[in-house]
Symmetry: C2
Subunit: 396 residues, 2 copies
């Protein structure tokens, strides 16, 4: 019976993987037991999901087997789904067992926020996992196949993307790249296909400078995207949407990217949350729990009076910080406050196009697209070194 502390990490997303890797590196032999729990045996690169969702890239470029990222001699991997977090018992209930912890890191990721829009949860798909993007890709192709076997119903070749934030825009760009290929494969006149991007806010890509937003919108309009800004989806139906303007758009394909919230497991554990997110302390700990760290989409950190948007960049930095603080805590050392270093933002706009901000500098077009690839390659390097870059990287 070991009396060394038990560290349990829930979720192998950006935050969880970085925490696990950093713990693996910094902990000495027998200094702690570390267990990483994840629903799948793979880690996926969420910021890349828009590509396999549209069918412009393979899912194999989007996921990595966790066993390739973690040394299983040092960290136990448990492939299971978390059912409940019992704070008073210091236990996590899995679908097929129970884990007790001394330290808990919660990085379970977010869920789509449908804002109670009727029909959205039932009829819209979302870009949130390998399985969900497989469905979106297969669904889109199925619409073309059905279109050619039915009396050419327009709803089969109208595509609606709800939300023009980061993931909405990145997905709509890939979709615009993919549609001409599907049209060719299924003998459909591209002029008949419509891609609608509907956004309740008055413009796309909040947080980007207006000239970059304009650039992005223009690029996508040229690729055939119809934007509707300042228009909300009022209702979602199996065969279309009703907009706040009263207009109805027929479509058998609705992809919702309009909102992300935290995790119901975090809410039901009893933490105080805002839309499923816990406002963590300066060390990334849940208020009132010195041994529980919350990271990634489950955490909420304010930048002045506005919360930071939950990004991969944020989750990765949190992962490193919380691992360092857990090691410090075990060793009785002083904890270090978390500070977010914003390194820039890149949005891809399909093949060879993008927008980017790095420091004061703004980039558009090919340079931004190259930067996006660099960011992706850098991430692969961080989690898996050169071998992973060579195996999963997209250079072209």
């Amino acid at each position: 019976m070991s009396s060394i502390p038990k560290i349990v990490i829930l979720g192998a997303g950006y935050g969880g993987i970085l925490t696990a890797q950093r713990l693996q590196k910094e902990l000495n032999y027998n200094e702690a037991d570390v267990t990483l729990v994840n629903r799948h045996d793979y880690h996926y690169i969420t910021t890349h999901l828009h590509m396999p969702a549209a069918g412009t890239d393979s899912i194999e470029h989007t996921r990595v087997s966790i066993s390739k990222l973690i040394d299983e001699f040092k960290i136990d991997l448990v492939k299971s789904s978390v059912q409940e977090i019992r704070l008073h018992d210091k236990k996590v209930i899995l679908e097929d067992g129970t884990l007790s912890y001394d330290y808990l890191i919660i990085g379970l990721g977010g869920e789509p926020e449908t804002f109670g829009i009727p029909g959205m949860a039932e009829y819209a798909m979302s870009i949130r996992s390998i399985n969900s993007v497989r469905l979106i890709r297969a669904h889109i192709e199925y619409q073309f196949a059905m279109y050619k076997n039915e009396q050419r119903p327009q709803e089969r070749i109208n595509f609606i993307v709800g939300g023009a934030g980061f993931s909405g825009i990145e997905f709509v760009a890939e979709l615009a790249d993919r549609i001409p290929k599907l049209c060719k494969e299924y003998d459909v006149d591209p002029a008949l296909v419509n891609i609608y991007n509907i956004e309740a806010a008055s413009s796309a890509l909040p947080g980007f400078a207006p000239e970059l937003v304009d650039y992005a919108v223009e690029v996508l309009q040229k690729k055939g995207v119809t934007f509707k800004f300042g228009v909300a989806i009022k209702e979602c139906m199996p065969n279309g949407v009703i907009l706040s303007t009263g207009e109805e758009i027929k479509s058998a394909t609705i992809v919702w990217t309009g909102g992300v919230r935290g995790n119901r497991l975090v809410e039901s554990a009893g933490f105080e949350t805002m839309r499923g997110r816990v406002k963590v302390d300066e060390y990334l700990r849940a208020p009132g729990y010195e041994n529980i760290f919350i990271i990634g989409d489950n955490s909420l950190i304010f930048n002045g009076d506005k919360p930071y948007p939950p990004t991969a960049q944020m989750a990765m930095q949190q992962g490193v910080s919380c691992a360092q603080n857990i090691v410090a805590s075990i060793r009785g050392k002083e904890l270090r406050k978390f500070e977010f270093h914003h390194k820039g933002t890149v949005a891809s706009l399909g093949k060879g196009e993008g927008i980017a901000v790095v420091g004061d500098k703004k980039y558009t077009g090919f340079k931004a697209a190259q930067l996006k690839k660099l960011v992706d390659l850098r991430y692969l390097f961080i989690i898996g070194g050169i071998p992973l870059v060579l195996k999963k990287g997209r250079f072209i």
Copy 2:
């Protein structure tokens, strides 16, 4: 105003294409007007459809643009759908016009025969056109995507093929080759997937020698196909079938290959038909009409007291013969009786496997698979020469 005879060919299948090509070759300049009517601007290789249906080959290997096969200076191509054949007016009504004829060649192809099995027409798919096989392929992949996004319902990964005749067996073999790839792509344990082949007759592949049938069944069982012989499908539902034994099999994918009949357009034209097929005279003419030739799946020719099965081989030979007889008829020469020369039969059983009969010789395995490829390449050569063989041929 020309007074030269007008020849109209309905359908650019095996029979129609061969008729058109032979007329093009044999007719002198201004000897006749020839018009070829087809619903699509491409000809497709029906005996190859089972591959793109399963997703083991591209549809581009399965179709050829008609304009590549026909000299449009000599033959008019009309891309349209035939609505009605008016025998008394010597007119064909198209969806967007009318054609009058002096000679008519009907090669419109067959339709699936569902034998009135409830639900079959509504819920089963069939391998009969480029569009229908695109749907089958997309549908199968969609089931895997849905399976991973639902609570793993077995009906999503049960696949039912009705009929163990030629096309049923060839399709089920390709499906068995395709499933392991889909399982890999969608992380599904192949052991969970079921492929059922259900046949009312007591065995598969009527017409083949019993030892070849046994060989084929064994090959496919090893690939994971479950056969049910002597069992009829009693009813088809959106999520499965009920068998004559009372057994119910859950499946969201039912592909019906159990029967082919002639064409409703031929029936409604007023010809005497048996299941949509016209028993033609020894010159391939419809009884009572010296100027109307019926070929391919629309025709019925007896071999003793049993009809010949409608095959590509039969249609091709009919096409050549009816073109020769039309030319002879225009020139006031004597017509030649049609005689079918059976050159052998090859059934593919997926990658590297097959069975074949050529004369007295029987082949199995790799040799039969090579023979199948040879037959395919020979067909491409016949209709398009070396350039088409190089463009569309599958050598590996």
